[in-house]
Symmetry: D3
Subunit: 336 residues, 6 copies
């Protein structure tokens, strides 16, 4: 039996016990297929009453550790170990995932700048509306598994989305600490309200983001960190019957960092960026961050870029080529 | 005074002493510029008689360590330290370099599959013809500085191009050993005769290739290795008056590896590749190399790939996305 | 004298008798033409008071029978035969029609997913707003002539758009029966409210859709059916003075079909689809519909697809190539 | 210190005296740069209290005289000559300016059809929202420097945007007369409310537009006219301490023209347009404007186009190629 | 063990008995995969000495019946039934087949205009060189299974490629008659020497082509005809031990047709083509073939096209849209 | 009756008297039309024995004066006025002409860099082979009518192609003088042998080129000059019976200019070019030619460009945008 949603059909019933795996079928009437669908993978694993946690991957299509780990959970997790309900969307922006692209090849949109979405909009806007309008109301917690994507290498980390409600912010901090990543970072995306985590927080859900490596590749180490962190989180949220699941890994107490206004090192010149520091290095404001080479005119000396904040090198641009406005490095500063 | 070549003009005179920096101006009559040129950077540093060495970067446009190091030499090297002549082409396929692309955006060609070139062909074919027909006859040695490019991470290494003439092959081995890279590898590109190094060997030049890191980024460590290796090579070729240049770095004796017929691990499935081994690991034929995940259908278990040769993991695919036929890993085996 | 509309100009006066043929000139300020227009063909044929019927083609740009028949009416119909008013828009999404594409090459939009439109939006949104906000209020009935388009072959048929108002639904049934197509089908487009017919029904107009063959070609038989059906409809609506027009063709009583939730046969695999049944065949749920071949790996056996409903094969995918989510076959079931 | 805006950051403080030059940094999270910005050039030159005038160029990216003149003012104007405040945005739609394109290569939008903009929309919509929501409220007057763009050659002219408020319309006339261009023209863009000048007038600002030559090139004469006109305007607005700035150039009394409903000569045929009249010629309704040649079939005689209004040839299509709907010529008629 | 070819590797040994299925791995060094391959499917089924027949599909990537039938033979044929050797290449231009495109998306080339190929050329040229230089010398007969492709619907037919050698032409006629298609047609492609069949004939092979339906779709009837015809041909060539294979289907004596100089009905106008005749109809020179409608200007009457030869309607353009030079219909005339 | 050529068919017989107008139909088997042609317009006007002159336009697709004038001759010239034969190809690279592009949209080639062509190559190469191999052997003289194209404005001029044979060079000078353009210029295209005029000279034909205005537009003045010049030339070649044709216009004695090695002013910077001199101005080496503005960073002062030769400003770049290597101005110097 097919169960409708505002934007598509699915065979999955969110309210029955057991493991169901299938698709949200979003109708998309394009030149090449008037009556076809975008089949977004969807799994529900439920065992009686208990908290509901949404695990999401593929918000961006070139960030792979989250989708890999969520695929393992979908195939391997025994519903008997569960207490409550997992809603797993491992490849949300499916067209982007199939293209290995941050943005959707269909409408060119970055899903994470489309919340709260629009059920009558383009496919990416319909998908964010599905998450915001249909999934969030069913859930207690939301986990959005990102990596750095094609343009950035990032220190593997769990992310706090701040809320206007201090109590919710505190609960987000606790959940991020439970994930137990190498770094825990508060990121408000310069206040952008169009992200999935900002939207989840507005909906009152305990919310955790991640940044697992990046550079558009799969990092075997980050896959392990992500697998462990999600397991830790599910214990933290109480969705595991502890006797039946692998135990959480306890870490040392987390020191939280944040990205301030001066975190980003931007280039004003085109060329090729060479970093002077590895990811994770400690740096100071005023120190040289790297230099931009003009390969097409070797007579020109390279231009040096400077850090504007003290802290740790949290992210580095991956592609060699840069043009004015590109972010070359990002510094995370200890939270005050 | 402008000096002609078969394919373009340049203000540089290859036969006078001192340092000259300018461009080969290759006419390219396109829609947007009927009478314009492609300005390929070119430098000649000459001091009296002595060997002529060609230093080339930007054969592919997304391999950056070579062009960065050659830019430093162009700006910083004192001609008084030189004994003979350096011809430096740091960004040969300029349109590809400006695009950060392996292939030229103008004609879609991989310059390293166009040798010996064609002076009446498309721009990339004209450029390979310039190197083959005009530069090679002036030179004793040729150094082609590659990195892994956007699709591959490679162990930094110097490359032997084998020749039908055993004496030349031996001299190529000696030069590669002098470069003193972390690995020295014999690569015949499956016998392809259309590469610049195969072409240089046919012309009788002592020839050295490199693969410096890759992944379409700049590796600060590989920049250092490349800088040191080129300095070593120039000492080896006798182009430096030793009193005036930084001394070469002596290494341990090089163990040579080679890429055999079974070196390449290809996928027959589409998905996302996760490697099980880091670059430089020792592996055996039959061992699992990694697995390919189907993110669009998490019900499908990943497909495992297997090594077909014993040796060292020399290269790994960088982008997560794969489709059938993609090379996911490369094993270098010790030379017999 | 030029008469304005909210989105453009036209020389046509909707309120005078006789035949006028011209264009809605929609300003479109693009790179190549800052002050140009999109000239959407428009005709009004009026003779005194009487019902107003809108005849529309070119909602999608690769569906040709409707526009061909409407062009004949525009050129050949004697206004003296008319009783009331015909508003004829034979190529509504003109840029799509000129491109032979379902969607507009200008903004990538499927016009039939943009209703009710936006007069300040992109050209396709402006066109749907023109139909919805300016044409619908003038009319009593609306006929939207579709064919299957590039991706589908469909049994020539007239379509009932259901309304929340049972009386209007009944009148739509009567009009569809009058069209007298080989099949009459109720299609709600999975409840999508963004189509022109859903919008017309909301505006209270008696509404008829069609699907005339398809596959992105012109079917000579479907041209004849469409010509006859439109003539029948205009008699039904009372817009013809019967003495002056070719008489309607009476058919047998129509049996109505509908597309249910399980009508669509979707593939989960990529490859090439081979149907086992011709259009119009009777099939049963559980029966094999066809198979998907993997041409790039002939070792893999083809994957069989299954019908999920009893009924008649109403539509078949035309292009051989399929990817996951594509609609391969559609079954129409008798209305209950 | 970085100062926020709703859509981005800038280091510029609008409220301090002196000359500041920098960028509005609009975050744009794309595939190639997740955390980068679009750096829109911005300058503020302020000296005490006095009127605030916004000078804008680069609304379209292929209109160059305005940006060139504004760059001169930014580099050369002594703040001591100023009385009040200049807010200068010389290349508003920066991605379009860098591409030399009327519309943005990022979202395909014509900025001058996106007002009042949307701070949560695409980059072009965010930019128009910044101008409308953040700059307009700070200002008394607005000057939007256009040229004809790639598709049109236009008589250099200053433009009156009419207002519903006759007093504001009168002040716009006075300001346009002060600019002292070869022609002064009233253009309402067929009533389109989505332009920057229509939006400025709605905000109550005295508003002046221009059209300086065009054809996607730089006209040295138009650069001089634009330089002189802007200087005249700033005197008119009282932003110059007259003792310290070059004096305004007095012209003869302006005769105002307007573009009426019949101003545009559109082609209904594809081919190549040959004009019969030079820019600035006096013509009459019914006179031949030019002809459209079918180069692909020389057997066909050319098709003649006709003027529909009396007046002066104000604009001519620049590219030879035309297709149906293209605007080939524009006639400005004396205001009544 | 990997066996080399001039253009790539394969694991298949052409000289051993039994059934082998694998790939020709053509190295293709592109931006996204420096060391990857194009894996062209290849099978060899051999049983002792006897004739060698090449069965080829996927010369064009949007013609599906041949590849489907060859996939069945590869999976299902018992080598024990064979007498001699079958070399089966079911999807020769693999990149085109994967794209569902006549031409390769890699180099834009129509493989059937690249013979005799170039082992140092682009991938499509390398593939035709492989067939011409490496496969043809091993074989006695060559079968190239085409359909009409995306642009044409064609009467299912077997094709005679004429030779300068009358004896070979006669043997080609016999083989075509044995295929026993609904029509047998002599096509010389206006004398073009760059096709695979022209090249096979030059190499002295008995050669059969086909055209199985077309329109870029899969015709279930044509699949059956193709399956039967290939079985017939293999019996004719003596590659089947008759006791072990399904018997050939005997037909009536074939009447041969040919495409003469006046066979093609070309349009000189753009618009949408409506045919007046179904495939297979008998027509006469001077008769109307159909008409071209101008949908963008319904005031224009359609333009009629005329046949220039007597005969049978052998092919019809499939896509509705036409532009000048397009082939709308093709007439096959009885051979004299 | 259809007459073959090596690359296509035509209904035109080059050897009969009278006026024939039709097409060379070049077969081009593309995805969208397997059996269609490129219909290149072709006319032959012959009256008895006498010289044969080829008149060619549309070598580049964005140069319009020549094709317009040749269309007039095709439609209007009375064969009775002719003495000998005119072969007129007004739109040689038809796909480029239809696209308004210098290069062919089909294969990306600039036809004027493909001579002597290749009858088995891509369409543009086939067209140059047709001109070189089939038309040149029939003719005594060749006229190739160019304009500046989209990227250049050029002083209307007739062009001498120099020959190795001084006698032929002299005859080319005489013919160019007879054309009687505002300037007469010797251009060797930096010695490029791949142009149509270089090829015609190699074939021994008296050869005249032109450059009529440019900028991708139609110049009414240049149309008149071109019309007059072609008439003059045909008188000069003796193809007109003087009594029956409009008389030639006698000019003052021509002063010849040439483009030397230092004629071209190239930019090394990206930005927008502003010329300091109008076309036709006299300038000196060392004088400032113009400046390049950085619109994206107004803090940077513009960069000045310098002339390298004395003479007349013969050409100016039209598009405002420049990137390194673009030709901004061209100086013609008096011949020595």
């Amino acid at each position: 039996m097919s169960v409708g949603s505002k934007v598509g059909d699915t065979d999955i019933d969110f309210n029955i016990d057991g493991k169901q795996t299938g698709f949200l079928r979003l109708p998309y009437s394009e030149h090449d297929d008037a009556w076809g669908v975008i089949p977004v993978p969807l799994a529900v694993i439920r065992n009686g009453d208990g908290p509901t946690v949404i695990l999401q991957g593929g918000n961006h299509g070139d960030e792979y550790e989250g989708p890999i780990v969520l695929g393992e959970i979908i195939r391997d997790l025994d519903p008997a170990s569960v207490n409550g309900r997992l809603i797993i969307v491992p490849a949300l922006n499916l067209p982007a995932v199939q293209a290995g692209s941050r943005v959707s090849p269909i409408d060119g949109l970055n899903l994470n700048r489309t919340f709260p979405g629009d059920p009558s909009g383009s496919p990416t806007q319909q998908l964010s509306s599905w998450v915001n309008d249909e999934l969030f109301p069913m859930a207690d917690a939301f986990v959005d598994l990102h990596s750095g994507g094609s343009s950035l290498s990032i220190v593997p980390s769990a992310i706090v989305e701040p809320s206007d409600d201090p109590a919710l912010t505190a609960r987000n901090h606790e959940a991020v600490a439970a994930f137990n990543a190498p770094m825990s970072v508060v990121i408000s995306n310069r206040g952008d309200t169009r992200t999935s985590t900002a939207s989840a927080v507005r909906a009152g859900l305990v919310t955790v983001g991640t940044e697992m490596a990046g550079a558009g590749t799969v990092s075997p180490e980050a896959v392990k960190l992500c697998r462990r962190g999600v397991n830790n989180l599910l214990h933290h949220f109480g969705v595991f019957k502890s006797a039946d699941a692998s135990p959480p890994v306890m870490g040392t107490e987390q020191v939280f960092h944040e990205l301030g206004r001066n975190a980003h090192v931007l280039t004003e010149d085109a060329g090729v960026f060479e970093s002077f520091h590895a990811l994770g290095s400690r740096v100071r404001a005023g120190e040289a961050a790297g230099r931009v080479h003009s390969l097409s005119d070797p007579r020109k000396p390279p231009v040096e870029l400077t850090f504007w904040a003290d802290g740790v090198v949290y992210g580095l641009r991956h592609p060699g080529r840069v043009r004015p406005g590109n972010c070359c490095a990002v510094v995370a500063s200890p939270c005050e």
